[in-house]
Each structure stands twice: as structure tokens, then as C-alpha cells.
Point group: C2
Chain length 395, copies 2
């Protein structure tokens, strides 16, 4: 069989990830761990594929290799993308798919029972997109086990990146640099948003001979609202022309083999208003202070407080967190969903941790984003990408 | 405030959708319905935005207008994309986002109680990506209510499309035609997959002056595995060159304002093997028989059985369903998750229902997809797109 090994890390890396996870399971008193988050599944086993719209999971039992669980037709993808042996790939027949009569978790319960993995403390990700309330109930009933909530347990193990992962993220940074350069080159009044997005995808994907690689799909599609609509952070695009006199932020990420480097910039078509010029000054000054605080030994809230202190000085209120950890991700989110850069989060920064320092402002009648993706090091933080850190003005 | 009305249907259409849903609630004995599926939220209110990575919902109470519920910063998106008044938009502060100490559903429980919508039979989508096991528990505890599973209740109301929706899907069909034409034009041995995907996105998105519209992002990224890897249906792409002597299927969709027209075709580079030629004959003959059975008054399983009968004649076993309803969708799935084209599904076909007739084969060492998206009419089914229905051979 053809092995798709391009997305694969070394065996030693996967052994280390499994060992880290098992140590966390032991600490939490978990005998069997069931992870449905596709990012966690990929991180633990290499599994890759757009199959997360049906129920699937990786299960780590008390001993031995992890088990992949999914739909019958996707077992072929598991055989090709993971390091796992066929005996460790369990799949359910297609009549379990989107059926109101039977649930894939009924099937998993039976299979876990066969392996005698049905007793003790069994952990599931109760607050994850991919493990539904019905899945929980079917599994708990099928195992006659209350199940334990281990949301985030695997995600937390992903926090400190290996050198190979950092290398992937640096490649994603090359891609996002190219995406922003393309936007700067192409954007102009009258250009239709959908055409600009086509250019953004082009820059996100194409192979570069010098680099020796091309791009993967980011976990979030481009967000690029204009004018007063930019007060709403999560609008995508339409097919209307861009207008003179409006600012537009571009929240995008480069992606290399599922590893992300998000980076946002803002462009004003025409003469920027004082509001934009003030936002630029406040954000850039706050960014500097935040980066200064992004040191090993400090905490997540130290970065946020440094940034928010500057905003307060400028009379700007930002009612939301100012960043989150990043790395390997699948839709709908390129964040890792563990710590956040916000007051009260006392997670200690360690070398190898990576964050999107999300200094975006969504104010009453406009939005402004200049952000950086960073790695914590032994000294000053590494900014992954090198894109001019300023408001871009075009006529 | 600028109103993004391009994605909006008429008020009468939304009133009709709400009335249909309320009738279904009454039939199911549901007093309050909470839908977290972004496709259902958009269908009921027009809400659009990439915010489904945090908890959100639309709530239909016993009387009055629906309520939008989501994150504080996304209320700006709700104000801009829905028809709803500010009083019907409830949002939770950002410190509820991805917190291990508090859950957005605690907040929703309090707000529903304020509105006296906390008693009676409250329905939630228990088997949906976007309503987690933890969300269920927080809401059930917060309301001191057992909650009722209404998975699919709103989805079922979406089954029969309005003329305006069919028009959207026909526009998506123009887009998917252009995508396949671009693939046929560009694909050749040595072309890197990531470059071909860049071309596919270009054809999916750009504005066409003659049509008067451009494209939106499909709910699934392009799937295009080659050779023996095409035995796995859900692999995406890498940055390696395509090879002579290999077949590749292209499972893609055109998307216009979140409405989809999926369509798959297969391309062989070089001289196709007998296996591919046989698969082509079997699938095309089965497709004809299936389309023949796709008549109002027949059932979903009639289409599937007609197709499977032909496959059996050719000695081919397909262990999975052969289609599903389509229309308005958000990631991770462009299917509607109600009925399926498979034996045993006795859903009666009605004019205005739309399906992806998914006749794909994923066999031991290759894959083959020639599919059609169709609408049930008073007579023969309408095939949305016009793409040559054959194995494409290129050298």
C-alpha cells in the first residue's frame, strides 16, 4: 500500500507524545482515554482526512498501542496516514452513519468491552465539537460507566512544540507572508472581495520551488470585513467591490501540513481616518509591551495586561482575550483551546509554547487587526512571520 | 449600520420557515427549541459568520420572534446578517469563552429563565457537532430540566427547497461546472496537487461578469486522492506531482451564498486500466437507473436499490450509502443529515427535495467517483450541473 508519509513525524516523536499523554492520564487517574478532537487524533497518530463530520476517535488504553476508531470507509485513510497496524484500527459499518436508530458509540462501547477497556475511569472530551451529547449518552449507557470529563487533557500536552513542529510553523509563516504580500499587491478600490479571496488562496497553496513546499488549507477561511462591518470579527466575504474610504482587516493563516501561522493586517483604501491612525498607534505600542512580557517564566496574563495597559492609556476598551495557543489544527478553529492571553490566566510561559498574539480591536463602528504569531524562547519571543507591522494605506 | 443583505432571503421566506418549524415543534410537543447547527441558525434567521467554534444557538420560544445567542463580539455579526432586533440578540461576555470554570450554557440557562422559557419540554440537538456533552449538562443543570432530543427537527424542515433556494443551487452548479472545466484544462502528469487545488479555488471563487456573481467557500475542502490512496474517500491533498498511470477523483462543490452543488468526476492520466473502464460502465449504467427512480412518490431506498442492483450485476460491492440531501451548509459537512439514499430509508421523495446522488466507489486499491446533484420535480429529476458524465482521460 502507498504510505502517505509526508505528513508523518518520526516514530520517536509519536512515542514521546504518547508517553506525555499517558503521564497526564496517570496524573488524572484515567485508565482509558477517548479523544475525538481531530487535532488530538492527528497529533497522537498522524491521522489526517476530512472525516470529522462522522463520529471517530483515538483511544488510549492502559497498555499497548492506541486504537483508531471510525467509519469503515475511513479505515483506509487511517491505514495510509497513521503508523498504526490494522489490528488497532476499529471501524463501524456504514449503517451507523447519521442513523436515528443506532449510534457509532454503541459500536465503540461493544468493542471496548471486548478489549476489557470498559471498566475503571474512562475519560472523554465532553466540551469538544466532535463528541456530541448523544454520543456521550450512548457510550455511557453502552459501557455502564459514568465517564470522566478530560476536555483539554491532550490539548495541554500539545502546548510545547518540538523542533520539528516549530519548523512546520516557520514554513506556515513563509506562506502567510506570501499571502499578505499578495493582498498588498492586489487590493484596490473596486476589486471584488471574492476575487481577492481567490488571490489569497492562490498565495496560500501554490508550491514554491525555492522553498520546496506548497500549502495546506487553514482551519478558518479568510475573514475580511470592511468599514463598519469590521466591528463584527467573524464575517467572511461577498462578491461586492471594495470601496475607497473604508478599512478592511485580513485575518488569515498560512498552513503547512496542518500547522498554522495566523497573522492579521489592516488595509485602508484612501486617506485613513484619525480613528485608524490612533488604533494603529495604540495597537503597535501595546504589541511592543506585550512582546516584552512574552518571556519564559512570566504568565499568559502578563502579556494580556501589558497590552491592555497601553490600550487603557489610549482610552480603548477591548472586552475579549488577546490571544491563544496555536499549532496543529483542523476546522473550525486554529486555536488549541487550553490557556488564553487574558487577565486571570496564570499559565506559566515556557520555551516552545506558541501563541497567536491576537491584538485585534472590534469597536463600535470599525475593526482593526495587526497581530503576530510568536514562540516563547529562552530570550525574546520569536515572531514567526516578517510582515510590515503597520496600517497599509492604498489608493 | 451597514446591513449585509446579500445573503438574506425575503421576510416572507423566513416567516414561512419559522412557521414550518413551529408546526414541527407542536407536533413533537416541544415548547422551546434550541438549535446550535449553524446551517439551521442561518436557515431560520440569515445568521452568517465563522463563529461556530464557540457556543451559539438560535432559540425559538412558544411565541414571538426567535432569539440569537452567542459570544459578545459576534452579536455585531448577528445584527448585520439577521433580520433580528437588538432585543432578541443575547450575548455572553468573553470570559465564558473556552473557560474551564464557566460555560456559555450556564449563561443561556439564566437568560431563558428570565424569559420564563425554562419550563416545559425544551428541545436540543443532542447529536450535533456544535452542542457538546458538557453544554448539554450545563444547560440541563442550569434549567433543572431534562431536555428533549430534537436532533434533525429543523434539518427536516429544510428538505424541500423554495424557488429562491433552488435558484441559489443552480448558481452553485454554474460554479462547480467551472471548477471541473478548470481541472480538465489544467491537470497533467507532473502537476503538483497543491497547485491544482489553487486553480480549483480560483474557479470556485472569482466573479463572473456574465453571471453577475462570484463564489463562497464550500463546507468541505477539495478531496482528490490518487492511485491506491483513492481507496480512502476523505484524503485532501499534498504538494507532490501527479503521476501517469494513476486515476484521481475530484470530490468538490460549487457554493453560492452557503448553498452547495457537490459534483465529483474522475480523471485518469495515461491509459486507463480495465478496472477504471469497468467502474465507469457500472457507475454510468447505475446512475441512469437511479435517476430513473428519482421520482416524486418513490422513496430514498428506491434510488439506492436501482443503483445497487446494477453494481451487483457488475460484481461490485458498495458498502455505504449512495447519497444524501444537500443545500445550505457550513463545515464540516455539505449534507443535511436527515434521510440517506440507502436500503431501508423509506423517506418519500417530493418535488423540491435536493440530493447529492453520491455514486462513488472506494474499492480495495482504487477509487472512482462520477456523481450528480439533483432536484426532485414533478417529472424527471433536474440534474443541477452539466459536466460531461464520463471518465476523463488525459496524457
Amino acid at each position: 500500500m502507498a504510505i502517505i508519509d509526508t505528513f508523518r513525524f518520526t516514530d520517536a516523536e509519536y512515542e514521546n507524545r504518547l508517553a506525555r499523554t499517558r503521564a497526564a492520564m496517570e496524573k488524572a487517574g484515567i485508565d482509558v482515554l477517548i479523544t475525538s478532537d481531530p487535532s488530538n487524533m492527528a497529533w497522537l497518530t498522524g491521522y489526517d482526512g476530512w472525516s470529522f463530520y462522522v463520529h471517530q476517535a483515538v483511544i488510549i488504553g492502559p497498555t499497548g498501542e492506541p486504537v483508531w476508531f471510525g467509519r469503515e470507509q475511513d479505515a483506509q485513510g487511517a491505514l495510509r496516514t497513521t503508523y498504526m497496524a490494522e489490528a488497532d484500527i476499529i471501524c463501524y459499518p456504514d449503517y451507523f452513519v447519521q442513523s436515528s436508530e443506532r449510534h457509532p458509540m454503541d459500536y465503540l462501547a461493544a468493542k471496548l468491552t471486548e478489549r476489557a477497556w470498559h471498566t475503571g475511569r474512562i475519560g472523554v472530551e465532553m466540551d469538544n465539537y466532535w463528541f456530541s451529547a448523544r454520543g456521550y449518552r450512548s457510550l455511557a449507557d453502552g459501557l455502564a460507566n459514568d465517564l470522566v470529563d478530560i476536555t483539554g487533557l491532550v490539548n495541554w500536552q500539545r502546548g510545547i512544540k518540538s523542533p520539528a513542529e516549530l519548523d512546520h510553523m516557520r514554513k506556515a509563516a513563509r506562506i502567510v507572508e506570501r499571502m499578505h504580500a499578495r493582498i498588498a499587491e492586489k487590493v484596490e478600490p473596486g476589486m471584488r472581495k471574492c476575487d481577492l479571496v481567490a488571490d489569497i488562496y492562490d498565495a496560500a497553496l501554490r508550491y514554491d520551488e525555492e522553498w520546496g513546499f506548497g500549502g495546506d488549507y487553514p482551519a478558518i477561511v479568510p475573514l475580511l470585513p470592511s468599514g463598519t462591518d469590521a466591528a463584527a470579527p467573524h464575517l467572511t466575504w461577498d462578491d461586492k467591490p471594495m470601496k475607497t474610504g473604508e478599512g478592511t482587516f485580513f485575518e488569515i493563516a498560512g498552513c503547512f501540513r496542518r500547522y498554522h501561522c495566523p497573522l492579521s493586517r489592516t488595509i485602508f483604501l484612501g486617506k485613513p481616518t484619525q480613528q485608524f491612525l490612533d488604533a494603529e498607534k495604540a495597537v503597535l505600542e501595546g504589541m511592543e509591551m506585550g512582546l516584552e512580557a512574552a518571556r519564559a517564566g512570566n504568565t499568559c496574563e502578563d502579556i494580556a495586561n501589558a497590552f491592555f495597559d497601553v490600550l487603557r492609556k489610549w482610552g480603548i476598551t477591548k472586552n475579549n482575550r488577546t490571544g491563544y495557543p496555536i499549532g496543529l489544527s483542523y476546522p473550525p478553529d486554529w486555536g488549541e483551546r487550553t490557556c488564553s492571553l487574558r487577565p486571570g490566566d496564570q499559565t506559566v510561559l515556557q520555551p516552545g509554547m506558541t501563541f497567536h498574539f491576537m491584538t485585534g480591536l472590534w469597536l463600535e463602528n470599525f475593526g482593526f487587526e495587526i497581530t503576530e504569531s510568536i514562540a516563547i524562547t529562552d530570550g525574546a519571543p520569536e515572531c514567526f512571520a516578517d510582515v510590515p507591522r503597520k496600517l497599509l494605506v492604498k489608493n
